[in-house]
């Protein structure tokens, strides 16, 4: 007998509760539905929800806590048997006991004490399981009996179910929000730890990025340098190149799709363009690293330019391709949202489609287009895969697109790949970079949302 069987029995009991609840309330009004406050099914669900939830809750509590409680008891017993031990030795004993109880390999010879402890452990386990199972069944039956009394034709079962649904919804969104807050807080705390090692102005405005901390005191190069400016500069540089590519192409294709393309072309071309958004970024990444970057380097060599094999240009170009769908599809929405009457008004004055686009539609859609650009920017700033593969690791502070640059995301990946100590400035700097990145994209998104909202008010 294990937990799944307990669960199955509980479920079977709730099915029974459902039918009984329904039958009971129908019997109470002699089958006349008009005498009921809610539909018969509501009474059934009422019985299920309020009997199953508490018993499941008990089972859940047991599942998360029984291991810990049993361990505590065992540790007391180990201490009583062997006297004072280090934490490490206690843990060894614990795992030996568990392994023996599970008939797994044991690290030491099986002594009578160990055998006894394993039996004790087994007994605790079985007992706690039965206690939990019986408690769950008891609560189930008790709740069922209580509910059987509660269920009368006047019970507002529908409203109670509504409450239960609401509770589930609130719980779900609370989990989502708390998780977000938790992530932000952990970023904040780790960043504060980092700032104890490195001064904030050294981090934000330092020109040299060389993140290393000494393993030994006498190590060469033991002092790291955490000036993140080259990283931010590299990120913004690549983003800028990406926008130079995606901005015109995305906007012009949006204009074509909304105003110039025939319906037939639009129904084919729009989904195709949106497929670009579905290409995994890792694919873009190796496309950038294996196709675009060598092509640019070869072309550079051909015309006599010195091009790094991992150039900012290659990463920027491919990232530009990646964010085209963001710009085109959001700009498309913005232009389509301009009322038809604006087009009619302009066309009726004898302007061409292009004049209408330039002088009426684009100005009217401008806030939407701007927010499309901002969202695409925040996407490009946070993009990792393409730059990891194509942008390189060298933290150069340069404005030459043919040089290698590195980005914030690339450095975070580099800092956290492999085994790390979690309290060195090197590892902690990843959190600081992450927080800075988060703040940048958050600001871009907030501005974009604000612009969109302002824009919406204009026509409503």
């Amino acid at each position: 007998m294990n937990t799944y069987i307990v669960l199955l029995i509980l479920l079977a009991l709730s099915v029974l509760n459902f039918t009984l609840g329904k039958k009971r309330v129908l019997a109470a009004v002699n089958g006349d539905m008009a005498g009921l406050h809610s539909l018969p099914n509501h009474y059934g669900w009422f019985a299920v929800i309020f009997s199953l939830t508490p018993s499941l809750f008990i089972l859940f509590i047991w599942m998360v806590s029984h291991g810990h409680i049993i361990d505590t008891i065992l540790i007391e017993k180990i201490k009583a048997t062997y006297g004072a031990l280090s934490d490490f030795e206690i843990n060894v004993h614990l795992s030996d006991i568990r392994n023996l109880a599970n008939n797994d390999a044991v690290s030491v010879a099986i002594s009578p004490e160990l055998r006894e402890a394993a039996d004790y452990y087994d007994k605790l386990r079985v007992n706690s399981f039965w206690a939990a199972a019986l408690l769950a069944f008891g609560i189930m039956l008790g709740a069922s009996a209580y509910i059987a009394k509660l269920i009368t034709p006047t019970l507002r079962a529908r409203n109670h179910i509504e409450q239960a649904v609401r509770f589930v919804l609130v719980a779900s969104s609370t989990i989502a929000i708390l998780t977000t807050i938790g992530i932000v807080l952990s970023l904040l705390f780790e960043t504060m730890l980092f700032l104890q090692h490195v001064a904030i102005d050294d981090f934000l405005f330092g020109l040299k990025w060389s993140p290393q901390t000494a393993l030994r005191a006498d190590q060469v190069g033991s002092s790291g340098s955490f000036g993140a400016l080259p990283l931010f500069a590299g990120t913004l540089f690549i983003t800028f190149i990406a926008l130079l590519v995606a901005g015109p192409i995305g906007l012009l294709s949006a204009i074509y799709m909304t105003e110039f393309a025939s319906d037939r072309i639009r129904t084919i071309a729009k989904p195709v363009l949106e497929i670009l958004a579905g290409v995994p970024t890792v694919v873009y990444g190796f496309f950038a690293a294996l196709v675009v970057a060598p092509a640019i380097r070869d072309f550079g060599t051909y015309v006599g330019l010195d091009v790094a094999s991992e150039s900012a240009l290659a990463a920027g170009l491919v990232m530009g391709i990646m964010i085209i769908p963001f710009i085109s599809s959001l700009s498309d929405d913005a232009i389509t949202a301009v009322p038809q009457s604006m087009r009619d008004g302009s066309l009726a004055l004898g302007s061409t489609k292009t004049e209408t686009m330039l002088k009426v539609l684009l100005p009217a859609a401008l806030p939407g287009v701007v927010s499309a650009f901002l969202l695409a920017t925040s996407r490009a700033v946070g993009e990792t895969m393409i730059v990891v593969m194509a942008a390189g690791m060298a933290a150069n502070l340069t404005a030459n697109p043919l040089d290698a640059v590195t980005t914030v995301t690339v450095q975070i990946v580099a800092l956290l790949t492999g085994d790390q100590e979690f309290d060195s400035a090197k590892t902690l700097s990843a959190f600081a970079l992450g927080l800075a990145l988060f703040i940048i994209t958050l600001c871009l998104n907030v501005v974009a949302l604000y612009v969109v909202r302002k824009y919406r008010e204009e026509y409503e």
Binding site: S262, D263, P339, S341, M342, R343, D344, G345, S346, L347, A348, L349, G350, S351, T352, E355, K359, V360, P363, A364, E458
Partner: protein, 265 residues
Amino acid sequence: MNIQAADTNITTDREPKMQARRVNVFYGDTHALKDVNLDIYADEVTALIGPSGCGKSTFLRCLNRMNDTVASCRVKGVMTLDNEDIYSKQVDVVQLRARVGMVFQKPNPFPKSIYDNVAYGPRIHGLARKGDELDEIVFTSLQKAGLWDEVKDRLDTSGTALSGGQQQRLCIARAIAVNPEVILMDEPCSALDPIATAKIEELIDELKGHYAIVIVTHSMQQAARVSQKTAFFHLGNLVEYGDTVEIFTNPQEPKTKDYITGRYG
């Protein structure tokens, strides 16, 4: 192009500004207008009346080829402006719309300043070479539209900030600014309150003579008040066309009589 008088039952000694002969319009498979013959005179207001879906707006939108923007729309027959076929290949639709302006059912000022709204057309067509010429055009257009006194102190505020009636007069000023020969109005008062409506009707009266005006209206009182000629459409047919006074006092067709006396529609 000459259209033989024998084609039609309309006889007149004056030269019409626009003519429609055997005009048929299809939206996909729907036959929206059937063999419509109609003359529009330069110094008159022509009202198009009829129940919803009768084709009067469709006909109006044929006169400046706004139906071109509807992909499924096909127009057959002959339509002329000053005896020139407006559907021939030689005609530039952009120039046609500069000559035949349009005011829509719902006021649709651009989200630009009042000044820029009126200056939009003249700028596009290069009607003003210097800034003060443009100022002059904006001034006269707003004045003709009876809006100047109300907005002269706030020409740089947005056109969308005006009241509905003011917006519609701004749209009329915008149409006038291009100096058209014909102005089409598609139920210009249906979104306005009675006072704003009265102002627009007054304005139409003042504009009469300077421009040929064609107005689609649901209000028979309005047709009777502002127009000299009235055309009654029903189910895509032009049922009756003649002097407004005649149509309203002595309709020849029983359908017309039923409609104007409020029996249906």
